[in-house]
């Protein structure tokens, strides 16, 4: 028997989808990458955001590299509190300024999103941008924190960015 990770019901060995809730049974087992056949991931509701308790300020500086494949630019950042991502304007120059990466054409807002260092790691928060932020092809609702992992794929509007974390902790 295998257990559906979404609804907890028991399903026969070899089943691919849960007969109760329709969940894909091989996802968690890491046996196969779920491929949605005829849809955009972006139509899926994103996983729930972190709750506020997990957002206690971080103790240490976290090192982050953002890679913009289209322009081959890399941003190396030390995230102490938070960094802003967007396009430079007369009011504000964000730490990550995507103007030179065709940010305007690709729909990056001036204040698009921010990355915040919290106790559990880093989170990405969309700042109610015009064209939205996609994390691993999930569209993020604005102002909600989502945890980031090394290798995550982020889209600010149409601009693709990869994020890599350099772990500075020694444990």
């Amino acid at each position: 028997m295998i257990k559906c990770t979404e609804c907890g019901s028991s399903q026969e060995e070899g089943s691919l989808f849960c007969g109760e809730c329709g969940g894909f049974l091989l996802v968690e087992a890491g046996k196969i990458t779920a491929v949605l056949p005829f849809s955009e991931f972006a139509n899926r509701p994103p996983p729930p955001p972190l709750n506020q308790d997990a957002l206690a300020p971080a103790q240490a500086v976290q090192k982050v590299t953002l890679v913009v494949p289209s322009s081959r630019r890399r941003f190396k950042l030390d995230v102490q509190d938070e960094v802003q991502i967007g396009r430079a304007s007369s009011e504000l120059v964000p730490e990550v300024d995507l103007t030179d990466d065709d940010g305007a054409e690709k729909g990056v807002s001036r204040l698009h999103a921010k990355i915040q260092a919290v106790q559990s790691g880093l989170v990405l928060i969309d700042q109610d941008s015009t064209n939205g932020t996609l994390l691993n092809n999930y569209r993020l609702p604005p102002h909600e924190p989502y945890p980031l992992k090394s290798g995550d794929e982020i889209r600010f509007g149409d601009l693709l960015v990869h994020i890599f974390l350099t772990d500075t902790r020694t444990d």
Partner: protein, 488 residues
């Protein structure tokens, strides 16, 4: 081909061998057999040799044999491709599931164009009045114009009795046919058997072995008291090489009945929500009907005793759940350039020791040639039961197909729960289904599911329209996957 009949191989000559070559080959082989063993009754090898020689040394018999051989060869090119979700399973005291996908592919050679022998059986009961009937007439007009003079057409209208509007005949004058159709007026009740019987009678006026014979039923109501007769007729039609598809218009017809009606011949049943959609549904069904590679395909499964079929679903050329309880499951025709694809959910009983399970699949089909000939194609799939397994990924197309089939079945389960009065279970399940539909990008169906949740809590049942929309909507999702047939 049976070894017994491989005459050229028995004599060790090519099919181009001259009579002299055949004679000397026979003499040489015969010389190797001692005199006392040259006994046809007691030495099968000698009997085979003599028999082969007798056929090939006689020009008339050889010609007949050659033509049979050519036919067999061309027919052997139908391909059965079997894919399973796993080829190995672990030894276990519990039951397991394996999915099997069978693709029946057309041969590479050109299809035989068989003229169509089509009967349209149209409901003209009172409820068809107005828009419905006029859309049916438009749809039929379009179809008539697509047929060729080689095709045969008949049109039946029925209410509580049937009327032959257009008797069986070649489509030589489409205009006249359309004119006859215009006179049909809506009135009366719905007795489907009357219509079907008249349709079959008209179809039988043509030579059934030289046509693709097909009956299309279009109705908008429950049939009145003759459902059993209809189903019995549907079974008889298979034996007469007549296929059938059925379309239900609006929401007042019995979907289970139409499913059962087309099941024996492996036809399609579908939901036509709006009258103006009739045209596209009928055109889709007619498309490819005249181009036939094989008719009346039947699937026989001879599985290891520990393996049983839990569920069967035809994925292509159109999606249709299968009724598995008979020895042969009919799958319709191999038509157009589309394969016939079937997905089976197999239940594997407990296997505590390592073993190999044989799954024997047999496909029987009538192959159009100078005459229809029943042919059998076999495939044996092996499933290993092992103590240790490596990782094995199910093929993506099986995952896709199972995902869609699962959604269809979730909806069917909701209905079962509603009928059993377990409304809370039904609601929870419908909620899950709605989520899955949304994930699949099917916002309309997901919304319909939400509406039905409200309907269940308010009225204790689903709406007629919602039930059909979800049933046929989830069924049709397969067309959007790579296995679907919507890419012609």
């Amino acid at each position: 081909m049976d070894k017994e009949f491989e005459y050229y191989a028995i004599l060790g000559v090519t099919s181009q061998a001259t009579l002299e070559e055949i004679q000397s080959a026979f003499a040489a082989l015969r010389a190797k057999i001692p005199q006392e063993k040259r006994d046809k009754a007691n030495n099968p090898a000698y009997a085979r040799l003599v028999n082969a020689y007798e056929v090939l040394s006689n020009p008339t018999r050889r010609a007949t044999y050659d033509s049979l051989l050519a036919e067999t060869k061309s027919l052997e090119s139908i391909n059965l491709v079997v894919t399973t979700s796993r080829s190995r399973i672990k030894i276990s005291d519990a039951e397991q599931v394996v999915y099997l996908l069978l693709d029946i592919l057309p041969p590479e050679q050109d299809a035989k164009q068989l003229p169509l022998n089509l009967s349209l059986v149209l409901d003209k009961s009172t409820s068809m009045q107005g828009g419905r009937l006029s859309h049916v007439k438009t749809a039929v007009e379009l179809i008539v114009n697509k047929l060729t003079p080689a095709d045969t057409l008949s049109i039946i209208s029925f209410s509580d009795r049937a009327e032959v509007v257009v008797p069986s005949g070649k489509v030589e004058n489409p205009l006249a046919i359309v004119g006859q159709l215009r006179g049909v007026q809506a009135s009366g009740g719905t007795e489907i058997y009357q219509g079907l019987q008249a349709g079959v009678q008209e179809l039988r006026k043509a030579d059934l072995t030289r046509h693709t014979n097909y009956l299309i039923l279009l109705t908008d109501g429950h049939t009145y008291g003759d459902a059993a007769q209809c189903l019995e007729l549907a079974h008889r039609m298979v034996g007469q090489n007549i296929g059938m598809s059925a379309f239900g218009l609006g929401t007042e017809w019995n979907d289970q009945f139409l499913d059962d009606l087309v099941a024996p011949s492996g036809g399609q049943s579908n939901f036509v929500e709006q009258p103006h959609e009739i045209v596209q549904h009928l055109q889709k069904r007619i498309h490819g009907l005249g181009t036939i590679y094989a008719q009346n395909i039947g699937l026989k499964l001879n599985l290891h005793r520990k393996v049983s079929i839990k569920y069967g679903f035809k994925l292509a050329p159109f999606s249709q759940p299968l009724i598995i309880d008979e020895e042969t499951v009919y799958l319709g025709n191999l038509e157009g350039h589309a394969p016939v694809s079937v997905l089976l959910e197999l239940k594997i009983g407990p296997n505590p020791v390592e073993t190999r399970l044989n799954l024997n699949l047999e496909v029987v089909a009538d192959m159009p040639g100078p005459q229809l000939r029943a042919q059998t194609f076999k495939h044996t799939q092996q499933l290993y039961v092992l103590a240790e397994l490596g990782q094995e990924m199910p093929p993506e197309k099986i995952v896709e197909a199972v995902r869609v089939m699962n959604m269809y079945r979730m909806n069917e389960k909701v209905w079962q729960e509603v009928e059993a009065g377990r409304l809370d279970v039904a609601t929870t399940r419908m909620q899950h289904l709605s989520t899955r539909l949304l994930e699949a990008g099917e916002a309309d169906l997901a919304q319909q599911a939400q509406q039905e949740i409200e309907q269940i809590s308010r009225a204790g049942t689903m709406s007629l329209a919602g039930r059909k929309k979800l049933k046929y909507g989830t069924r049709a999702l397969i067309d959007k996957t790579q296995l679907g047939n919507n890419k012609q």
